[in-house]
């Protein structure tokens, strides 16, 4: 209960930061239509974030990353074609590679380990952690903007 309160406070406190910096370019990679809609809706409400598109396959995700100067990937591991690990692997190790928030139903520790090993920044469970997504995006925003 207290976490939720804090999150709400943090959401409110985000707003003043919005003005000076460019919003983050975010790609949502998710194969469930329902969730794509819900998450898009949620993300669009965040001022620091610019949802530049969605993808539901590994191929589409990789194409979008190559094309659209994506800064943050919200990545589901389970995709209609290929999987999230394929996308992670394709990002390589360059410094300017997009940050990745893995948001998945696969909650086994093996997945987290593997995803982290492939350079994911966050590993979140869809059901348990989904409401932390705005906070995490905010953290990333702070990080990238302070770096840039």
């Amino acid at each position: 209960m207290s976490t939720i309160k804090r999150q709400q406070q943090s959401l409110q406190s985000l707003e003043p930061i919005e003005a000076p910096a460019q919003p983050m370019r975010v790609l949502l990679v998710e194969d469930s239509k329902v969730l794509t809609e819900r998450l898009s809706e949620m993300i669009r409400q965040l001022p620091e974030v610019d949802l530049i598109g969605t993808a539901d396959t590994e191929e589409a995700a990789r194409a979008a990353v190559g094309r659209d100067r994506v800064e943050v990937l919200i990545l589901d591991l389970h995709l209609r074609q290929g999987n999230g690990f394929g996308v992670l692997r394709s990002l390589g190790t360059a410094a300017d590679r997009p940050s990745v928030i893995v948001l998945t139903n696969y909650d086994l520790p093996q997945y987290k380990e593997a995803a982290m090993a492939l350079g994911a920044t966050y590993f979140m469970d869809k059901v348990r952690d989904y409401d932390r997504l705005p906070t995490v995006l905010h953290e990333l925003f702070i990080k990238t903007r302070s770096r840039g």
Partner: protein
């Protein structure tokens, strides 16, 4: 539903079959009886021949003794004639010369004549020749008359001197008697000759008969031999044909069995892959649809929670319960999905999946699990090899938990240039050889089938340590890596 209707056609078919059977039986029987005749002939004929030969031998012996007797009688007749003539010559010589020395052979000759006649009669009686006996009687009479005449002449000589005796000689009485005797003797000799010719003819006939019989027997023997040979050859040929037919039938059956087995095997493979596909489809559906719904519900729930902030504690309490149930539902969905189709396998590969599987098994059963995996993942195994090895390990661990009463399990995966090898071993009570092919072990059969579908080998037996069971699976690397369009592919 309708047994009489079903039974009706079956009954005639059955009786038809049975008549066919008896027909075949009688056929064999009559064939056997047909065979009896030559066999009986072959046995009876030599025996008959033997007896006939014995008979012929006896007849020949008889003929021979008849000939000897005939010769003897001929000689005797001649001797008789000579004796008569000797007596006559002695009488004539004496009367002519009055020299007593001429009379020396007279008495023996005269004495000899009836003796010879007795013997001859005896012999002819034995030979059963009535005519000869008649002739002998006549000879006895005539020779008696002749000897009487000779004796009379000699008596006349003694009583009345030479002229009286010579006068008697000059009567043609004696001469006629001698002629009669000679004629009779000749008749006897002719009779003997006829008899000998007869005997000889009989002999020759007998010899010919024997010859013909032997010839016949020989021919029959040869015929029988040839027939036996032919029969034997036919038999052998029939046997060969039957054997060939049987062989062909066996081959046919073999072929049928092989085809059926192949069909069954194909069906089994098909069912297995269908099962995997269906599981995958179900897992995906659960993940996509149910997962989406659950997450969406969770999102709405979170929204509600924000609205509930500082609200009615009862509502908050109810909200907490809903949230908890939802969490449990999500957890359940995950477990079901993972059991249907290990997502780790498709996402992170075999080793990750095995690690998770073994870890879960250890956690649930309390077994001490040792694991040994290659340092580098056997990457790039095709989905079929992945799922096969995974399912084998899963089946083994399930069996171990259910049946083995083990405390330790070891799972090893080895990759070489030639093959991928999975070893699962426990320290339980061990599988008995008679249980390796039976019931508990449809699972085993299924594992074996899966592995052989990839050209691999599957063996189950006592662990080398002597306790527990060891399953050893090897799949050739080219089959485990090769990517082919399979049912399992495209599921991730």
């Amino acid at each position: 539903m309708n047994p009489p209707a079903n039974l009706a056609p079956a009954a005639p078919a059955l009786s038809h079959e049975s008549t066919g059977h008896t027909q075949r039986l009688t056929l064999t029987k009559s064939r056997g009886r047909w065979f009896l005749a030559p066999v009986a002939l072959a046995i009876v004929l030599p025996i008959a021949l033997f007896f006939y030969a014995e008979l012929g031998q006896a007849r020949l012996r008889d003929a021979s003794s008849a000939l000897t007797a005939s010769e003897w009688r001929q000689a005797t007749v001649e001797e008789f004639l000579r004796s008569i003539l000797d007596a006559e010559a002695a009488q004539r010589g004496f009367l002519l010369t009055e020299d007593k020395s001429y009379l020396a052979p007279y008495d023996p000759s005269v004495r000899r004549v009836p003796q010879l006649l007795d013997r001859l009669e005896e012999s002819y009686r034995r030979a059963g020749s009535g005519r000869a006996v008649d002739l002998i009687r006549d000879l006895r009479l005539k020779s008696g008359m002749k000897i009487g005449e000779l004796n009379s002449s000699l008596r006349l000589y003694g009583e009345f001197g030479r002229p009286a005796a010579v006068a008697l000689v000059y009567t043609d009485l004696g001469k006629k008697t001698v002629e009669d005797i000679r004629r009779n003797a000749d008749a006897l000799l002719a009779l003997e000759k006829d008899m000998r010719v007869d005997v000889t003819r009989t002999w020759v006939r007998g010899i010919w008969a024997t010859r013909i019989l032997i010839g016949l027997a020989t021919l029959l023997g040869i015929g029988f031999l040839v027939a036996s040979g032919l029969l034997l050859r036919r038999n052998v040929r029939r046997r060969e044909e039957e054997a060939a037919a049987l062989e062909a039938r066996n081959r046919e059956l073999d072929q049928v069995v092989r085809e059926r087995t192949q069909n069954l095997s194909a069906l089994s493979s098909h069912l297995q892959s269908v099962r995997e596909v269906e599981k995958s489809a179900l897992a995906r559906e659960l993940h996509d649809e149910l997962g989406g719904l659950l997450v969406a519900t969770k999102m709405d729930l979170m929204w509600l929670r924000r609205k509930l902030d500082n609200g009615d504690p009862q509502l908050v309490e109810r909200w907490n319960r809903v949230a908890k149930s939802l969490e449990e539902g999500v957890e359940l969905k995950r477990r079901i999905i993972e059991n249907l189709r290990p997502t780790l396998l498709d996402n992170l590969g075999l080793v990750a999946a095995l690690r998770w599987l073994v870890g879960e098994t250890g956690r649930r059963s309390g077994l001490i699990c040792n694991e040994l995996y290659p340092e580098e993942d056997c990457a790039e195994l095709n989905p079929e090899a992945n799922i096969t090895l995974y399912r084998v390990a899963q089946e083994c661990l399930t069996n171990i938990m259910k049946h083995a009463r083990a405390t330790k399990v070891s799972v090893e995966l080895h990759c070489s240039e030639r093959d991928v090898r999975l070893l699962v071993e426990d320290n339980g009570r061990g599988i008995t050889p008679d249980r390796v092919g039976v019931s508990q072990t449809y699972g085993i059969a299924s594992m074996r089938h899966r592995v052989s579908g990839l050209g691999g080998t599957f063996s189950i037996g006592r662990a080398p340590s002597g306790h527990g069971t060891r399953v050893d699976v090897t799949i050739p690397i080219d089959r485990a890596r090769q990517t082919e369009p399979t049912a399992a592919e495209g599921i991730a």
